[in-house]
Structures are given as C-alpha cells and as structure tokens.
Symmetry: C2
Subunit: 304 residues, 2 copies
Amino acid sequence: MKCSVCKKPAIIKLRAHNVSFCEKCLQDFVKRRVREAINNFKMITKDDKILVAVSGGKDSLAVWEILHNMGYDVDGFHIDLGIDSYSELSTEKSIEFSKKLDRKLIIADVRDHFDGKNIFEIAKKAGRVTCSVCGLIKRYLMNSSAYKGGYTVLVTGHNLDDESAALFGNLMFWRDNYLASQYPVLPATDPKLIRKVKPLIYLTEREIAAYNIVKGIDYIYDECPFAEGATSIFMKKELNNIEKKSPGMKLKLLKGFFRRHDVFKELSENSNNLETNHYCSVCGFPTMADDKCAYCRLIDKVKG
Amino acid sequence: MKCSVCKKPAIIKLRAHNVSFCEKCLQDFVKRRVREAINNFKMITKDDKILVAVSGGKDSLAVWEILHNMGYDVDGFHIDLGIDSYSELSTEKSIEFSKKLDRKLIIADVRDHFDGKNIFEIAKKAGRVTCSVCGLIKRYLMNSSAYKGGYTVLVTGHNLDDESAALFGNLMFWRDNYLASQYPVLPATDPKLIRKVKPLIYLTEREIAAYNIVKGIDYIYDECPFAEGATSIFMKKELNNIEKKSPGMKLKLLKGFFRRHDVFKELSENSNNLETNHYCSVCGFPTMADDKCAYCRLIDKVKG
C-alpha cells in the first residue's frame, strides 16, 4: 500500500476518503482538516486567548498540540474528577503534556468544590445519573474558569464520531432543542458565557489516534469507567455499521446537517432562551433558572 | 401472559406499546391503528372509489381486507412481473383473495407492455438496476390503471417498517427531495395523477403478519428474489437494533417526522416540481420531462 500523495509506504488507509497516507502525509491531512473546520466556521483567530479542555485523552491532547503548533495562543484546563486510578492517570498525562508544550495547565479538582466528594459521590448524593452531573460540572467549571482567566474561546476535542453519534441520536429521537444548538461554534450570547468551538469535528477517532501515535503523543487509552453501556456508545456502534457499508456517510451526515442548520433552529422554539438570561443569585453566572443556577443548586444538594 | 384488554390468554406481546393481546383484541388494535392513520391524514372517505395495489404479500392483502370490511369501496390492482415461480404464486394469491372478498382484481402483465419481456429482461435491456425499473413501471401502471378505471384513490400497503426505514435512509443521506415528498398522503397535483395513501403506516410487519395469521389470510411469504442485499433491508436491520434498545422509537421517529414535515418541505426547492407538469407526447400522462415521460422512454429502449 502506497501513500496516495507521495507514493512512499503508507501506514493507514482511510476508506471514507479513498486514500492511503504515510506518516508525514497523514499529519498534513489532519492539520488540513482542522484548518478547514476553523475556517468554515470562523472558529478562532491568532488574537484569541484560547483555553482547551484537556482530559489527557487522544482528542484533547491532539487538538492542543495542533493549535499550539499552528501558532495559536492555547492554555489547557483539566478537571480532576477524583475517580481513583482513572483520574490520577488522566491528570498525570495532562500535566506531562502541558510541560512538553511548555503551556499553562489550569487544574480544577471537583473535591475542592464539593466538600471532598468525587464525581461518583456527588451524583449519588444528588440522586442523579453520574454522566449528567459530570456534564453539568464540566460545563460550569470550564466556562467560569475561562471567564475568570480572561480567555476568549473555549476549545473542546469533540471529534466526528462524537458529533455524528450525537446528531444521530438527536435525529432519531427528535430532540429539537439539541438539534437547534448542535453546531461547531456556540457563540457567546452573554459577556459571561465564553464562546465554544470544536476544531476536530471533521476527524474520526481512528484518524486522531493514528495522528497521536505518529506524533508520539502519550495519551490515556482508557475510557471513563462510567461510560460503559452509555447510549452514546450504542449510537456510535450503530453508526459505524452504516459507515462500514457507506464509507464517508458520517462526514456527509454531519456536514449536511450543518448546511441545513437554520431549518433545525426553527424547529426549536426554545433555542433562543439563552438570550434572555437571568443571573445566578449566588455565583452571578448566566442561568435559565429564575434564582440559583443548576450548579449552585447542585452544591447546595451535595453539601446540605 | 394475559391480554392487556380482556385478560384472556394473549398470543402476542407488543413491546413498543407495552401491551399483550389475545386474537380478538389484536384485530381491534390493528383496525384502530388503520382508522387512526386514515383520520389523522384524511386519507379516504366512503365516497371514494379505491384501488389497492396488491402483491399477494401480507401488507397488501391485509389492507385490502381491512378497508373492505370497514365498508370502503375497494378493488385490487396486481402487476405480474413475470419472475418465474415468485410471480406465479404472487398472482395466484392475489386472485384467490379477490375471490374471497368478491371484489374485482385488475391484473397487468409487464410482458404485455414490454414485448414479452419480464422485469429482469426489461432492466437488463435498459441497462438499469432491476428495483429502479420495477418502481418506475409499478408507479406508472398503478396510476394510469387507476385513472382509466375511474378510481379516486390509490392505496399501498407500506407499513411502519418500510416507512421508518425509508425515512432513516433519507435522513442519513440527506435526500431532501425524498424527505419533502415522504408523507402518508400524496395529493393529486394533476387531474391525471391519482391521490396515493398509506393506511398501514402505524403498523409493524410483525403486527400485520400476526393479523393475517389470526384472520386466516393466505399470503405469499417469499420476498421478491431481487430484494436480497437491498439497502432498504440493511436500513431496516439497523433500525431494528435501535428499536430493540428503545421499543417504540420507530413509531416516534415517523410520527415526529410527519409533525415536522413542513420544515422538510422547505429543504427541497424541487419538491413542487410536479405542480408545473408537462404531459408526455406519447401517453399524455404528466411528466417532469420536456417531451416523453420516463415510462415511454423505457418502452422505446426495451423495444428498440
């Protein structure tokens, strides 16, 4: 198998694009895809002060490395969830990589915010599903930390598999509000809400993993222990079956959705709710609730 | 297992509805679902002169029987595709059932229209995929026969599995024109185009098969020999996986789509093409082509 570009021995074949790449040309391909995403959605500029959410996994480390090497100004933000060895390793890989890039890494430990409790204990005390509580905490801490640090953009490492599987579920179950808000750029609708962007949306997990291996990026392989059996993983599997039969369908599904996004915004009457923000009476950040935001109510519940 | 309605021994459990039924209550359920579809989309009235497309399979025989017993005026229309034993049996079952209902069955044999060639030979001569040619011929002969016979509505036996799988494919590959036109009622946009309706859209294959067995309807079990490996069958399988995990999702997917249909009509600029009809210079039926319709061009190709 030869590289479709330079004819040297190829190390990977990408059926969706009907190409094979050597190590060097794979890197060019990955960077091209990231640049395409950034340009298509005007995600970031060299003037932005960027904070990337870093888990220590392949996606977050890759996007940090790529943006850094493209000359963007990017620090990292890591949340220690306190899940035993998984979180320890996750934090360790994040710190190591920040040193390698010689960039600042802000670390938040959920135990510092929730009376010494880890994410599992928080969810249990609140009587809620772990993944839902974890999402709430991550979104809140990411935004508030970026705001306090003076960052202008938040980057997450969501890839094509994540985004197409989420879209797949949102379409299958007609989640209009999610369809309306699923987009590679979430604008800052309030001075205290930081703009969010997803530069890896055009790249699959496999392409990103291969990039990391080729670049010698040392990431954590394990998935979060709570992810097992999650619906999102089931949806990814189903979509992979269709992709196998129709290589390239994931990318077409997602790109086609973005092109039709205006129509899906119409579907959701509530999609503009965030523009009529209230502010939390405790922390002062925007919320759709009348008084306290969901995060501060969670703190009450866990501490009370 | 007891019937959820009358507490007699149940013969079938329907997870999507979280109910079990005895023979009698299953029949009531099936008829209720058909009535619901008819009412929701104002499909037919007792004044309509109805022609149902009959293949001899479970769907077409069931819908014929149900509408007939509800007091509608329904004749049958069958196309003999000339595919050896499959077509022979298919025609035989259709004739038998028309006798049982004591209703007229119009039979068209493709070989009478295409120089003695069966559907496979027609497709080969035209250099086209069999299923695509078959669809074109069926749509043409159904419409023209209904028009010539003075029928006001054409009924087809498309069920929930057919429709949700078609929708699934149309969504996954963003087929805007198909999304715009996929609806349980296709209005007559021209005096020579007969209105088409699908009264079985709320019923699964399994529910319809069970109904036929309970009612002693003798249908052909075999699928068309050309259907094997068809994408529609693959899509049905994928959707069945999701349905298994989330019972009822097929019905919700389809109903949710119908509720949002206006938005999907917007997506397709071409969806109104049929309202600016030309007429075929040979047969006089409406066509989107400038001169001869696709059916008459197919005849030229096969005979020439």
